[in-house]
Symmetry: C2
Subunit: 254 residues, 2 copies
Amino acid sequence: MLHLYHADHSTCSQKVRFCMAEKGLEFSENKIDLALKEQLEPAYLKINPNGVIPTLIHDGNIIIDSSVICEYLEEVFPEIPLSPSTALGRAQMRKWMRYIEEVPTSAVRFPSFNMAFLPRFDGLTDQQFIEQQADVRPLRNGFFRRMGRNGFVDEDIEASFEQITKTTSRMEQALADGPWLLGEIYTLADIIIAPLIDRMADLGLSYLWNDDCPRVNDWFIRIQARPAFDKAFYIGSRLTEFIEIRPWSRHEHE
Amino acid sequence: MLHLYHADHSTCSQKVRFCMAEKGLEFSENKIDLALKEQLEPAYLKINPNGVIPTLIHDGNIIIDSSVICEYLEEVFPEIPLSPSTALGRAQMRKWMRYIEEVPTSAVRFPSFNMAFLPRFDGLTDQQFIEQQADVRPLRNGFFRRMGRNGFVDEDIEASFEQITKTTSRMEQALADGPWLLGEIYTLADIIIAPLIDRMADLGLSYLWNDDCPRVNDWFIRIQARPAFDKAFYIGSRLTEFIEIRPWSRHEHE
């Protein structure tokens, strides 16, 4: 039995939902309210000490970290394969996965917070923000401290945009060899980067690559055409469906 | 045939050397001079577009990213296993590997640069530093920009120390169940965190955990007692052997 702790709009949750949908796996669920910091409650921290989502429970065993969960599902449910069959091919896939974690996964958080999530901190003083929002996070305390309650400075946002265009340039180059990042084979690398591209598009930021990366645009159309896509990115998964999006520049707030 | 592009003192190179030594694998090598930015030369960027070391060449195939290389070696040379035999066990190992990449691998770079590598930038103006040292790096340009030629501010260093103590606390807790991070089994998780602990000790910073983490201290003694350890951490692998270590506080330089 598979049980997922996740949130509709969390990109890391979407990575795992998309992987499960491709494999035709059903799951029961706990939806975590990130605005209420439910992922930081003691009972949840006991199963996921990083205080982030998603977490998968499989037959009573706890598996954390979205890319680790995807590789686990790949090993336990190999019937619909989403990775190459050779060690070298898997290394090429994992090279992408590590890059996706280090560069775009981290980069999309910056505009996401400035444009969508800052109102969560309305009414807090700077000191309250540090104590109640930043320092309580086991993994992301530094990120929250840097953001502050007024959001990231323009320089940080521009650096994150640069990381995104670096990523899409690299994708554009890889996609010369086939419909997917590894060529003919559709893999976890395509799956875990899809929610990040989707998020940037949702925020209206796809202009960062649209003109320069025709192959990325075609790849994204192919991704969205997969039956599993709609299953993972159901209605309610996009920020624009329930949050008023603001400009990315740092802004004073209530 | 195995060929490694690496540097004696690079912690990510040490991860791979340690893994290969445990498996009894011999390799030929190219030593990369990081001070001369040899990892950013066009010929090297062609094999490793991230412009970082190490890179492994195996029978003509290129494998990059230290943790990807270790998992590749694990799959191709399974005779001496360094990972659990079950999918669940491997997920536990990879959970540690992802945490090690996100938290301590990143954290040890901050004191390493302030205490050892800043003199590389002597004589550069701020503008020259940005152009010649920061923006030429495909992966670490943001890190270098933040550092600047005078090093990281105390706040950044203290945040990195906090990440280190979080890591050693987590290790201390895990080590209650056995001699290694996953209990009875010695794995890639132990191997890839060892160079980070070793670096912190080399910089004289092991006081950050010494008093609070007796199990980590014992674990490190066990690690150092492994025959493979000396093979990977040969003379010349420690910064204190060839660089004058300075205090970690930000300092004006030439």
